[in-house]
């Protein structure tokens, strides 16, 4: 905190230029000629796309002239350049309509992060030691190309693996083509909070392997089974906008909103009624409601059609799901179930949604389908105020993938197995892009060993996280604001939307966008690769793709192509203005008629030894941990706990009292797969037999702001999966807790209730 620093800052911001003190290094640097024409002090707004979560919100970036230290042809110098200053929602974008969530706001810090990887790195020390040496791009590209061509020449291309966060649009197309052309298997996508189960369920029920879009704005009744749709799930901004309308948008009409979850989430906090059902029994509850509706003839059972056909016992009116039986299994009073059923039937359009923890159970798929059936019964599928699907997003990625191949890509744990066992064939080379499975997967999957087992690992990330620190070669990616971006929102809008955006600013460091790196490699390797990827740079590819899209949709023709391309760039994407609601196909067309038998959720850890359900949840600020390195996110208080810069363990006040645990005590949470320590947070809104913990902290290595901060709940998760999709059942672990001393809990908020002294005097 010395004065001089402040002077630099203030001088650079022009706030108090007069204070500018002399003798600062800036003064000794060379000054480059600006590469763009700028008017100092005047803000220009450039479109961009938020990449921090799968929602795909459109951005506009406030760019103003500033002086940055940049490297140009190997020299460090000062250059006046357009600097992104603020992110706002793109008012024209159909998903977020000019609004933005807290995470999106902080996206700015990805670009200016002090611990970004500024140039290509080559491992110089032991793996994982974090010792790298800086190298030039040519060397880096050559190195990677060499590795890949070696594989090709030895006919081992199948041993090339590509690990990435879920990709969409032209990036996906590029990667798929790259791998296909080089004879490698499809990319393994990994995100801790994936919705594979729901997509599968929707495919089975509605023939749409896609996340739903809810027309909350016109709904009169909403029941959510664990779906944190206002916080972190699916398309939070779009859903929040609709929620606002649902509450106060229609004069005189205000929908009722019921939340079913064992721990009050941000979304649950806004519900009119909170129901705590036993984890894993949400599907049962949904069918209980359906039972009453059918039984009381509020809706014809037959009306449910396809989705219901998949639920065993539906035609018989769900005999096993009478309120009393459901009460036994879920712990929700029969009276409540009946009441909810009547309310739902009485207030159409009504929406039932399910996501999050309920789907992260071993019976998640079944629960999802049960809820789908309930929606179908209520007749709210494909109806205004009901459950909708964004117009076939499969069609949206410009150019339907020529490279699309049969079969799902290998799931992460399978890839790990392959890398460890070497069967069916060893993994010789691994490319990692923007995924951090070492942090975000259960220890039992042994991802770290698996990666260490791969002879050559290259990372295309921007930060040294737990995964990329294991790499032999790091080719740092641009920050989103520095890159050409495109995206195809999967949900959140009822318009067909394909976003595209040119870079909002010049790169600060000598980094290179992942697509351009792959294109370079392709060019270097030549042969089928360069044939499959003929473009010089990614923007060319985007250009081609979007012009093609425009032509296919008849919005433009060969003549107007360039104007079309300019237009979509200028407004941040292309979206069909007229709203077409995509009616779900008949599920039987997907070819699956046989009903699924209900199954009870499996938990690891017996009730005696491990008395508590362990509920990790996505943090409002740090999401799945991929944002833990942003100081803004670290310092913004969590809305419910008000905690900053750390993790905590949420525990019911009565339970805490019984175990003699006070706010801030250090707890040890142990499962069969490990233990962690974190301070206790007394949390009134959680079931007595549940322990909840936010995901995001507990990074071993993830920049100065996140490293060795807090604990990582994922590190004690059981490796249970949902059998059909093979996606991780992260809510299926049981734990035991014990007090081990005094902890450190940094809270922004003080009193828990409006009149705390009343508690004090009790």
């Amino acid at each position: 905190m010395d004065r001089r620093d402040f002077f630099k800052i203030s001088a650079l911001t022009g706030a108090t230029a007069a204070l500018d003190s002399c003798g600062k290094p800036e003064r000794q640097l060379i000054r480059f000629i600006p590469e763009e024409d700028l008017v100092p002090g005047v803000a220009t707004w450039k479109p961009s796309i938020c990449t921090l979560c799968p929602a795909g919100c459109g951005l506009i970036v406030k760019v103003m002239e500033g002086e940055a230290e940049v490297v140009r042809n190997g020299k460090l110098g000062l250059m006046p350049m357009g600097l992104a200053k603020k992110l706002e929602g793109n008012p024209n974008h159909p998903v977020n309509q000019g609004k933005l969530c807290p995470r999106g706001q902080a996206g700015l810090q990805l670009t200016y992060h002090p611990d970004r990887i500024k140039t290509p790195l080559k491992r110089s020390g032991e793996r994982g030691s974090g010792e790298f040496q800086e190298i030039g791009w040519d060397e880096a590209i050559k190195e990677l190309a060499a590795q890949l061509s070696a594989l090709q020449s030895s006919q081992e291309s199948a041993s090339l693996a590509f690990l990435t966060s879920p990709l969409r649009g032209q990036r996906r197309e590029l990667v798929e083509r790259f791998l296909a052309a080089s004879g490698a298997p499809r990319p393994t996508e990994w995100a801790f909070l994936d919705d594979a189960v729901l997509r599968r369920a929707n495919q089975l029920s509605f023939g749409r392997p896609q996340l739903p879009t809810f027309d909350l704005a016109h709904a009169n009744y909403v029941i959510s089974f664990g779906a944190d749709f206002l916080g972190t799930w699916n398309s939070p901004v779009a859903q929040s906008i609709a929620y606002g309308e649902m509450r106060q948008g229609r004069s005189g009409r205000r929908a009722k909103f019921v939340m079913v979850e064992p721990r009050v989430s941000l979304t649950g906090a806004n519900a009119d009624e909170w129901i705590s059902a036993r984890p894993g029994t949400e599907g049962v509850l949904a069918l209980g409601v359906a039972h009453v509706i059918i039984g009381e003839k509020l809706r014809p059972a037959s009306g449910a059609g396809g989705p219901a056909a998949l639920i065993e016992g539906w035609p018989q009116g769900l005999p096993d799901f009478s309120p009393d039986l459901v009460e036994k299994r879920t712990g929700v009073p029969a009276a409540t179930i009946t009441r909810i059923a009547r309310e739902m039937a009485g207030h159409e359009p009504a929406i039932a949604m399910i996501a999050g923890a309920p789907l992260a159970e071993t019976n998640g798929l079944w629960s999802a389908m049960a809820v789908n059936a309930l929606n179908a019964l209520l007749g709210s599928v494909g109806q205004p105020g009901g459950v909708l699907f964004t117009p076939d997003s499969a069609a949206a990625p410009p150019k339907p993938s020529q490279a699309s191949r049969e079969g799902l890509p290998q799931p992460l744990q399978a890839l790990a197995q392959q890398a460890l066992s070497g069967r069916p064939n060893p993994v010789k080379a691994l490319l990692v892009h923007d995924a951090n499975p070492v942090f975000a997967s259960p220890p039992a999957w042994r991802i770290r060993e698996a990666i260490e087992n791969v002879p050559f690992v290259a990372s295309l990330g921007s930060f040294l996280d737990e995964t990329s620190i294991l790499a032999d070669l790091i080719l740092p990616d641009h920050s989103p604001l520095e890159s050409w971006l495109d995206d195809v929102p999967e949900s959140g809008t009822m318009q067909l939307a394909a976003s595209v955006a040119p870079p909002a600013m010049l790169p600060l460091h000598s980094t290179r966008a992942m697509p351009d790196v792959l294109l370079d490699i392709a060019r270097q390797l030549g042969g089928p690769l360069s044939a499959a990827l003929p473009w010089k740079s990614f923007d060319e590819m985007l250009h081609a793709g979007f012009v093609d899209l425009g032509e296919r949709l008849g919005t433009t023709n060969a003549k107007g192509a360039d104007d079309f391309w300019k237009k979509v760039q200028a407004q941040g994407g292309f979206w069909a203005t007229e709203t077409k609601l995509a009616a779900p196909k008949d599920p039987n067309s997907v070819g699956r008629a046989k009903a699924v038998a209900p199954s009870d959720p499996q938990f690891q850890g017996d009730e005696q030894g491990y008395p508590f359900y362990f509920l990790p949840y996505a943090s409002q600020m740090l999401y799945d941990g991929s944002l833990a390195h942003l100081p803004w996110m670290q310092e913004t208080p969590d809305p419910l706990s008000t905690a900053m810069w750390g993790t905590w363990v949420e525990i019911n006040p009565k339970t805490a009292a019984r175990l003699g645990i006070r706010q801030g005590d250090l707890l040890e949470v142990a499962s069969q797969h490990g233990k962690l320590r974190a301070p206790a947070l007394i949390y009134p809104g959680i079931a007595p037999d549940v322990i909840a913990m936010p995901i995001g902290q507990g990074h071993e290595s993830f920049t100065r702001y996140a490293s060795t901060r807090g604990a990582n709940p994922i590190s004690i998760l059981a490796p249970l999966t949902e059998p059909e999709t093979g996606s991780l059942a992260w809510a299926a672990t049981r734990v035991k807790i014990s007090r081990v001393g005094e902890g450190k809990l940094t809270l922004f908020g003080g009193g828990l209730s409006r009149f705390p002294h009343e508690i004090e005097t009790r």
Partner: protein, 458 residues
């Protein structure tokens, strides 16, 4: 007491003329403490006030506590001595000067805090009203400005009030001394000779000052209390604060005076001048104030409790049974439970007794200031904004420094000025004579033969 003027001169001038090793030792120790505080202070100014423990919402803590505390102590002297003078309490004579000095120094120390507690202390002069390049005058609606005026008035008044009766004593020193002292005291005694006119003007001025300084003193601590009472903060925004603070101020003032006297008495060997009588009388005063203080705090708490206003109750309970309760009950013991018996029971109202009582009261009153300020800040209206406070070594060192500074200044004063007003003492020792006739009779009967003495204006 049966001391001739010569003895008095002898006893009371000794400290001025003779310097013992004890003097230097004391000065050394105190200086080192002050130096430590000085370092802490510069550390704070250099790095920013963040090195203190203050936070949000506890924006004020030790700093303002010390401010209020020392301003409170300052009410020892001037106020008390003024009252005693007006009441013409004869036993006051050995006490007044000790008291008035406390006022002066305490004011200087207390008045320092509004400056050093600033976030940007180097800009303190922006609080002073003077034509400046910013083209803007201070905000006279701010109680801090009231403080500025009240304290400067009070400090001027007290200094003058203290100085007046010193002049004749300095003249005395001048006559008794030689060398540099002679020169020095010749200057400072302002050519005092002792003509009836001078004496008369001096005493007249003293009377006026005594009348003026009392309302000033009262206003000063009322205004200090208004620093809090003017802010709409639970338990601050209260009408009782002004009298409550004044009472507390006199309370702690007397306690400080008693301690000071006890030390002086031992250190300078003035046992024959400051006798049990003085401590007893002051002890009685102290007892009254202690009861009065208790009365005030009870009425404050009682009204709050009955009012049952949620935000106030939050503060209330935090002090009664909450996180601040240990301090609160310590304070009650220090200010009431311990002193009252010590001062009420004649047997215990000895010099030792009163000194013990005073010491606990000093502690108690410091705590009281702290407990008035911090709990309210940390329990304002919106519970979400509740906070806590924990001091750092910096604040603690600075606080220690203030006490050291107080003692040092006191020691130095006693070095340059007879700590007891000699002429007033002599005046007091003289048998009071009501009229010249009687006086003549009293003075020497033989003179009766001479008519002149009687003939005078009869």
């Amino acid at each position: 007491m049966n001391k001739t003027p010569e003895q008095m001169n002898e006893d009371l001038l000794r400290p001025v003329f003779h310097t013992t090793w004890r003097f230097w030792a004391t000065v050394g120790v105190l200086l080192s403490v002050i130096a430590a505080a000085g370092l802490a202070l510069s550390y704070q100014v250099w790095n920013g006030i963040g090195v203190w423990g203050i936070d949000r919402p506890a924006f004020w803590a030790f700093d303002i506590t010390n401010f209020v505390f020392w301003i409170g102590i300052s009410h020892a002297g001037t106020l008390i001595s003024a009252i005693l003078r007006l009441a013409n309490a004869t036993w006051r004579r050995p006490v007044t000067r000790c008291a008035e000095v406390i006022t002066l120094w305490a004011l200087m120390i207390g008045g320092m805090f509004p400056i050093i507690h600033l976030g940007r202390p180097w800009l303190f002069f922006w609080l002073a009203p003077y034509p400046n390049e910013r083209g803007i005058w201070p905000q006279f609606r701010s109680p801090l400005m009231w403080d500025f005026f009240a304290i400067s008035t009070y400090i001027t008044g007290s200094a003058i009030f203290l100085l007046y009766p010193i002049i004749p004593d300095w003249a005395l020193v001048r006559d008794k001394s030689s060398g540099w002292r002679k020169k020095f005291y010749t200057v400072v005694s302002l050519g005092w000779r002792g003509t009836p006119k001078q004496w008369n003007r001096l005493e007249m001025a003293m009377k006026i000052m005594a009348v003026v300084i009392i309302p000033v003193a009262v206003s000063v601590h009322s205004i200090v209390s208004w620093d809090f009472a003017m802010a709409p903060v639970p338990m601050w925004h209260s009408t009782i604060f002004a009298p409550y603070f004044v009472c507390g101020a006199i309370f702690s003032g007397i306690a400080a005076l008693i301690i000071a006297m006890a030390i002086i008495r031992k250190a300078l060997g003035l046992e024959d001048y400051m006798k049990r009588l003085h401590f007893e009388n002051l002890g009685k005063l102290l007892l009254v104030m202690s009861l009065l203080w208790f009365y005030f705090i009870v009425s404050e708490r009682l009204t709050t409790w009955y009012g049952n206003e949620p935000s106030e109750m939050a503060v209330f309970w935090s002090t009664q049974i909450g996180s601040f309760s240990p301090l609160f009950w310590t304070m009650v013991c220090c200010n009431f439970l311990i002193p009252v018996p010590l001062l009420a029971i004649k047997k215990l109202r000895t010099i030792t007794g009163t000194v013990i009582a005073s010491s606990t009261i000093i502690v108690g009153m410091w705590l009281e200031r702290f407990l008035i300020i911090v709990p309210s800040e940390t329990h304002k209206y919106l519970p979400y904004a509740y906070g806590s406070y924990r001091p750092t070594w910096v604040e603690i060192t600075i606080t220690a420094g203030t006490f050291a500074a107080m003692m040092l200044l006191y020691v130095l004063f006693a070095k340059f000025v007879p700590i007891i007003s000699i002429w007033e003492l002599k005046l007091g020792e003289r048998k009071p004579v009501v009229s010249p006739q009687l006086s003549v009779v009293a003075s020497d009967l033989p003179a009766l033969a001479e008519p002149t003495g009687l003939a005078t204006d009869s």
